[in-house]
Symmetry: C2
């Protein structure tokens, strides 16, 4: 690796359920994002099944990079070939690590006991999982598969268990091993600046970037539309601060009022923090989002200090009886109307005994749309101690898109209400 050239990494995720599309790979994105923060550029993520030739080809290709990180294929059965094929691709032998064998044996004996099966059934699997490429070290054991670090001159290959929870628990330890520390010391972790925007189009922000001369000169910019918000990352190499300032200024000129955050807290977390700072509690009345807004808020640990609850009023009867939406309002304006949205929000505020309440009612589709009220029409209303705000969304899309968009917009409506922005 030449000086001044960033270290590059290949990621290989192995698993037949991944390559068949039964399950989405979560390890590749996790590792890629973490490597980038540590100053290593992820060059590619390759997903392969359990065909040995496919896996070997992917490993050989990956070994051409400064770092190869492999997830999966470390299990006890013969289908799990990561270690064997990594050794083959790297041109090293295999050995059984007796210390590792003892550690896996201890785990497996307790599993055998719990399942009431003879330990003898487990012996071949334990021996297999304790087999390492020559020169490799192992770290940690969450399940029965270890993380394996194989230094290869200046380069490093790492094998991690496939279950995301195990992988994420072991990865920081892997980064602390001597071969990984040497690699990471050569990498230059860039400074990262974050701008998050809501309510502005990706193309206008991309145009602002292009008009300002684009990225480069030590600043890498990614503009990512994620759940109807724009996440702009500036990765700034040492010495490129002035250029980063220029670009940041250009974004602010073009879309300053739309910037709502400069960190990576989820929008739900940010809204909960804003309310907590002001000593306010929150509740919701959800119709077309059917619980999504509440689910997002309660994803945040500690949300119970702010979010007291919600009423998912999917039917008109629940809107009337639990939220007190007047039957006349429903009859005159329909369930999807600004009037119903307002009545839902004020009703939820009272029924739940909260300071701030937000309501969502709309046509999520695919059925139920009319010419007057098409699929994608959503009304939002937020009410608090100092006032209220309402919003109308009218975007086509599939059911999931409409529900998610409405949920995100509901959180932003609460944010705008409490920050008076």
């Amino acid at each position: 690796m030449a000086l001044g050239v960033a270290a590059r990494a290949a990621i290989v995720a192995s698993g037949s359920e991944l390559v068949r599309g039964d399950r989405s790979d979560r390890n590749g994105p996790y590792l890629a994002a973490d490597l980038l923060r540590r100053g290593i550029e992820p060059a590619g993520i390759t997903i392969v099944g359990d065909d040995p030739a496919d896996l070997e080809r992917a490993l050989r290709k990956g070994l051409a990079y400064d770092l190869l990180v492999i997830s999966g294929g470390l299990g006890p059965t013969h289908d799990d070939r990561t270690i064997e094929l990594l050794a083959k691709a790297a041109g090293v032998g295999l050995r059984v690590d007796s210390e590792l064998e003892a550690a896996i044996e201890a785990l497996s004996r307790s599993v055998a006991e719990r399942l009431r099966r003879p330990y003898a059934d487990f012996v071949p699997g334990v021996r297999k999982q304790a087999t390492l490429p020559d020169g490799a070290e192992w770290v940690g054991l969450v399940g029965t598969a270890p993380a394996v670090v194989l230094p290869l001159g200046d380069r490093v290959a790492v094998a991690l268990p496939g279950p995301p929870r195990e992988l994420q628990e072991l990865w920081p330890t892997v980064c602390g091993t001597a071969p990984m520390r040497r690699l990471l010391e050569r990498a230059v972790a860039p400074e990262r600046r974050v701008l998050r925007m809501f309510g502005v189009s990706e193309s206008s922000v991309a145009k602002a970037l292009a008009d300002a001369g684009g990225d480069g000169d030590g600043v890498t910019v990614t503009i990512c539309a994620r759940e109807f918000e724009l996440h702009i990352d500036l990765f700034v190499q040492p010495g490129a601060d002035a250029r980063a300032d220029e670009l940041e200024h250009a974004f602010e000129e073009a879309a300053g009022p739309y910037v709502f955050s400069r960190d990576e807290r989820s929008t739900a977390e940010l809204v909960l923090d804003l309310l907590r700072e002001r000593g306010l509690t929150l509740g919701a009345a959800e119709s077309c989002t059917g619980g999504l807004v509440s689910a997002r808020l309660t994803e945040v640990p500690g949300s119970s200090a702010v979010f007291l609850g919600s009423i998912v009023s999917y039917s008109d009867s629940v809107k009337r009886e639990r939220l007190g939406v007047p039957a006349e309002v429903l009859k005159a304006h329909g369930a999807v109307s600004p009037e119903t949205a307002e009545a839902m929000a004020t009703g939820a505020r009272e029924a739940l005994g909260v300071d701030v309440a937000v309501s969502i009612t709309g046509v999520a589709g695919p059925g139920g749309g009319t010419e007057e009220k098409p699929v994608g029409l959503v009304y939002l209303h937020a009410v608090g101690p100092d006032g209220q705000l309402s919003r109308r969304l009218d975007f086509p899309g599939d059911r999931e898109t409409i529900r998610v968009r409405a949920s995100v917009a509901a959180l932003h409506l609460v944010r705008r209400l409490v920050t008076k922005s």
Copy 2:
């Protein structure tokens, strides 16, 4: 491709946000699962950024397969190099397709009008997006990027736009083109048998498979643990029905009582169908799941005919006041107790006016656990016109895992209540 050997496909997803882990690739899993159903084996999914060398290498590798499907990199800017590099890797030239150019121009003119920008700004982009490899045809336009089909002798390369909605809309049309039809006719779509289980361990099902001699002989078996359910797929080649019957029998012997479905409806959809068939309505009282159960149910189009609503009672005050959980019950047993779960379910049944109600209360963590009531302890209760069922879950895990597991278990509790199983 030799007769009797399945056609194999490589999938390449291009996008710097994907390789950096900012966003998970959804196109690879979608295409892989669909190809498998059409009898083409997905050999690998490769995710690369916008580095031309990385993309070209992935395309060259992909062209070695019967089918290469590429998503992304078809945009109007110079960073979008899929077409240029596909032509290079395939050794063919480039040409501007005038019919395509006219179609993209029409779209772009209306965009220009909406954005109040001169159409001249769009001209280079339109020309770029209308450029195709020699010999390629284009189909469809959802945004301004077409789907491109390039026949290469017996093989086919396909380029699709990156946005999942556009890709999924164009893909069936692509499969209907002459080059794809020829390829698909050579493929043998396997029969697919599905068994879904809840409440049984992956290892005991894997053992049943191993004891029965494993897969092979024309039957491919995948066992996938997904959201605490096991999904078993048997892909059966023509002539292998007898062997598939044997394996299916082995699974039923080992875990028959745990089989709850033989199709791919989501569990929420299945539960809604069971209730609809019986003319029953459903509601929920959610504490630690905070709206997740309701969100899953309302994900299903038409759920409003069965699911009337829920009360997300995150705070004790909402449990008392909206669900009528007696203060004494909360005081004597705590919010996380079988007694509170029962009172929540019966309270929700009454408050929401539904036939069946399910409740969930537990400690999702990471804080709030005690020795007596550790993180992961969850009580569920379902009550209907003919009786009630309750369940205690006690698994460690992170907040998300505990919430999802509790949500899935709540749906299964309703299923068991209404099917009396």
